[in-house]
Assembly symmetry: C2
Homo-oligomer: 349 residues x 2
């Protein structure tokens, strides 16, 4: 179709992790979903909202969520922006800050969607390879023509590694553009960057309820930024980007912190056990503070392992970052799921 | 904040219709919501999906919805694109076809969001005023530098008027760019433009479940376009733009056509009665094929009526299109709600 923007026609488009449809026998360790269910209070809240009726438009601001998230995290409600998943937040931020022809910057290897968002916006991507300690050197903060936005996932995917908030503040202060710290996995980590948002209007933090709150199916994420920044982003978002059920469910999820804490405890325990077992099998695994582990075997190709696991109905995410290396990103499942996966890997390496 | 794109900083942003929060005594006839509830089968389907768990990502394509919508409307599934409300569809289409500096075209008065979407994209808007018969003349199809997309709401909002599919085909064939026919209100009309999509890849039709299916709170809309067009649009949409509950609810809604038919019958009956009563009060009302009526009084200012109604806890939508006129867009509520509104208006004109 010749009327399509040339940038779009040239794109291949982002491919999300495989989602087998219907009843599936796969052990699914490929898209960092939570293996445990969400809080029962979330389901109750959704049930109530649904019975209350769906014929009215939802609150365009998601005020109930902004209030509880602000209260929990120590911000006024106008520091919070609700999104239809944190991908929606990333889209809104990109469209607000990046003009066509400009460029965005992000680490490599990291979340592939950043590059896709730049492409859609007609912008160029600049990927800065992590150093061997999974830190980012001077190149990440160097000035560049038209540099409009930097993304920094922390914990990073696929590595699960974390850069300290102090270090991120330094990077942000040197960067000539705003910095979006993508904290999709932060509930599994020891540190976060929320405090930095207060110190610098150019630092924004995005969060997701998909992973730690076990709500990938609900689509809810949010951003914390200074109010004058949120006010600009609101102009770009779809008016009713969050539906009535997801707002109700997200409020109930935040309200049940005991559920989150228990879920987090289980996943971190399994992650530590899984990391040790992978190391015993000879895998190189950076220290993960997320709900997945990045595993590279020095002898066996990651793609081979991925295919053999898939043949045995275990889905993990195979990622090939070219010169930055290929590997398997294995989500932390239940202990049973992880044991099945580890046993199979044992026979392969 | 100086880092924001200049187009965004200069924008005021789209203001959706007032949505009073919490328990409200307002009779709400301002945002074209359905006064009747959705099918109970929708609530059952959402309940089942919710109990089934929300920890997994939803199907990124919304395959179950594409299948049933295609079957119902006579298309293969790959002619259907799912959206997080039809506003999401409008956003995706704009971002796929319109480059910054180009222009979009749409009628005046019509849906104000089209201009907002152009602004966000850094494009210019060209508004073509309807002629006195609510038709569009030669100016709508004239070539123009950088004309990249035309939007045509049919039925139109705020007028409720319809242009015949034959006439729209002629307009589309003359236009030097793709045409998006926005059929958000088409279930209340006598005709639709789906057949045109088969004849011309440059014609796309968008639909919403917010109005006729009483699901504004759920956020679900869709597009019908030729598969090679849908394939381009998929690159631009967020991967998981529709959540698991809205997909389940939307499938169940389409599956209960008897509920839609009965709902439609009631609303059209009330609309006809309301149109006649408004005419008796001296209002000028174009013939509406939507779930609202556009009412302009030759003597009393629309803004005055809006304010007086609001003081009496009745919300209608006041719209001022400058030289194209101001008026009240009154949604078709229940018979009781409409009677209260008509009685109040009687005392004001």
């Amino acid at each position: 179709m010749t009327d399509v923007r040339p940038e779009i026609a040239a794109m291949r488009g982002y491919t999300p992790g495989e989602q087998p449809l219907g009843a599936s026998k796969f052990i699914k360790l490929n898209t960092n979903e939570n293996p445990y269910p969400c809080s029962p209070k979330v389901k109750q809240a959704i049930g109530r909202a649904c019975q209350g009726g769906l014929e009215r438009y939802p609150d365009p601001a998601g005020s109930a969520f902004r209030a509880i998230a602000g209260r929990m995290l120590g911000f006024e409600a106008d520091w919070i922006l609700c999104g239809n998943g944190s991908d929606d937040i990333l889209t809104i931020v990109t469209r607000t800050f990046v003009s066509p022809g400009q460029r965005v910057r992000f680490p490599k290897p990291s979340y592939i969607l950043y590059g896709t968002l730049a492409e859609i916006q007609g912008a160029r991507s600049e990927q800065i390879t992590f150093d061997e300690n999974w830190d980012l050197g001077e190149r990440f903060t160097q000035p560049a023509d038209g540099l409009a936005l930097a993304y920094l996932p922390n914990p990073n995917s696929p590595s699960g590694t974390v850069i300290s908030p102090q270090r991120i503040l330094t990077l942000a202060e040197r960067l000539p553009c705003p910095l979006l710290v993508d904290e999709a996995y932060v509930d599994f980590a020891d540190v976060d960057c929320l405090d930095l948002v207060r110190q610098n209007e150019r630092i924004m933090v995005s969060r997701s309820l998909s992973k730690s709150y076990a709500l990938a199916g609900l689509r809810f994420g949010f951003l914390v930024a200074q109010p004058q920044v949120v006010a600009e982003l609101v102009k770009v978002k779809d008016s009713y980007n969050c539906d009535a059920l997801s707002i109700a469910g997200a409020v109930a999820a935040l309200d049940d912190q005991a559920w989150l804490a228990e879920n987090r405890r289980k996943i971190i325990a399994t992650r530590e056990r899984m990391t040790a077992a992978l190391a015993e099998l000879g895998f190189l695994t950076p220290p993960s503070q997320a709900n997945f582990v990045w595993a590279v075997h020095p002898r066996v190709a990651a793609q081979t392992l991925y295919q053999q696991l898939k043949a045995r109905q275990i889905l993990v995410r195979y990622m090939d970052y070219g010169p930055a290396g290929a590997g398997l990103r294995i989500s932390v499942g239940t202990d049973e799921q992880v044991d099945v996966c580890l046993n199979e890997l044992k026979s392969m390496v």
